[in-house]
């Protein structure tokens, strides 16, 4: 692979992998704390899927940039500013409603994202991966959508909590659909779809689900951003200290 193309593929893989790793980690924090036993099985299972996606993508990235010898080095041994994930995924979980709403937003986005990669992507291994990833993110989106409807259309209290979650997450949605020079380059090279090309399909589906739950999607504008450049929020430092603890305390440890 030519070096300029290699740099692009590496960075592109890292962005998606970091999103999945960090949301996977956040989701895993529910293990042992979910409101019912069924959800205590569901959320860690989803976390496992997300971390599995991240692992595969990091492995592909390591094949391209051999400075990194394995996926653990990318997942656990980078510094804060080297992570390229969205601010949305690093925010604290909040309550269960906030957690499933974020999962719904993200997995619905990824579902459309992988569907586009499946249709067009110059990087064969990612194109193949997208077939499987599409199926799994669809399942996550379906699971989360059911909770959004159940809680939104539940009691007065659960509806208020979901409305609060919508307000709480809204400032982070703009970044999800934000094109930058890098995403434009990826799109021109038929590598990855532009984030804003996903907005229309995403909004249609999210609107339908929120309406079923007597909830409204606010207008989305670009407010908080920086994750893609490695500029993170305060919550991220605490998350990393937890995520990286084992590798920092026992370097190169493995299962």
């Amino acid at each position: 692979m030519k070096s300029k193309t290699a740099d692009m593929v590496f960075e592109g893989l890292l962005r998606i992998a970091d999103d999945n790793l960090i949301l996977g980690h956040r989701t895993s924090e529910w293990c042992g704390h979910a409101p019912t036993l069924e959800e205590d099985l569901a959320l860690p299972n989803i976390a496992l899927d997300l971390i599995g996606h991240a692992q595969t993508l990091y492995c592909l990235a390591c094949e391209i940039d051999t400075r990194y010898k394995n996926e653990d080095q990318l997942a656990f041994l980078r510094l804060e500013h080297e992570y390229k994930n969205l601010l949305l995924v690093e925010q604290e979980n909040g309550d269960f409603g906030n957690t499933v709403l974020r999962l719904f937003y993200f997995s619905t986005f990824m579902k459309y994202f992988w569907r586009k990669v499946k249709i067009k992507c110059c990087f064969k291994k990612l194109k193949e991966f997208s077939e499987k990833a599409f199926l799994e993110t669809s399942y996550h989106s379906k699971y989360a959508s059911q909770w959004v409807v159940t809680l939104g259309d539940g009691t007065d209290e659960s509806n208020v909590k979901m409305s609060d979650a919508i307000v709480n997450l809204e400032p982070f949605l703009g970044e999800l659909f934000n094109n930058d020079d890098f995403t434009e380059m990826c799109s021109q090279n038929d590598f990855l779809p532009e984030p804003n090309s996903i907005f229309e399909g995403w909004k249609g589906e999210v609107d339908t689900i929120l309406q079923k739950g007597n909830l409204d999607l606010p207008e989305i504008t670009l407010k908080k951003r920086g994750g893609r450049k490695g500029e993170h929020s305060e919550a991220f430092g605490y998350l990393l200290s937890d995520l990286q603890y084992m590798q920092r305390a026992y370097p190169n440890s493995s299962w």
């Binding site: 069924e38 899927d49 193949e128 077939e131 199926l135 799994e136 399942y139």
Partner: protein
């Protein structure tokens, strides 16, 4: 299966899945191809789920079994076409049911769509009066059901 790889296939097909130990890798349709590449055997496996924790155990098992035959193996994961529950053999489905897991429907029924409502059979009492309790069961590949007749909870292998 390529010529000269029959010996490898003979031992690998009987290896069992670490999470569903009553099923072989052949029952699950996880081993897709064995081919020769120079002095190595390349074994292509299709993971049931991308993040399935059993994958690394399966890879290890395959490598160890082949090592016993003096064969060095390279194991590759394949996601295209994605592993499908349709690849589970008839025999595998039978064993699943005996073990108390309701086997997946054929994929044509499109149970991935939001509105799917295909009846799931209780593996205990064979009643179709069952309901889904949770999208996720004890592992990523199963969802949780309960029987409205015999009242027993059971796992249903997801259709993917």
């Amino acid at each position: 299966m390529e010529k000269g790889t029959e010996k490898a296939w003979d031992v690998l097909k009987d290896l069992t899945d670490p999470e569903l130990p009553f099923l072989t890798l052949d029952d699950l349709g996880v081993i897709r191809e064995i081919r020769r590449k120079d002095k190595n055997h390349v074994v292509t496996i299709a993971p049931t789920y991308i993040g399935c924790p059993a994958i690394s155990v399966i890879e290890e098992k395959i490598a160890n079994e082949l090592k016993k035959l003096g064969i060095s193996a390279i194991i590759e994961k394949s996601f295209s076409p994605p592993w499908s529950s349709d690849w589970i053999s008839e025999n595998g489905r039978k064993k699943m049911e005996e073990f108390g897991i309701s086997p997946p429907h054929p994929k044509e029924t499109k149970s991935f769509s939001r509105s799917s409502a295909k009846a799931v059979k209780c593996p205990q009492c064979t009643s179709y009066k069952t309901e889904k309790v949770s999208e996720f069961g004890s592992t990523a590949c199963k969802s949780l059901y309960r029987c409205l007749d015999c009242k027993e909870p059971f796992d249903h292998f997801k259709c993917v």
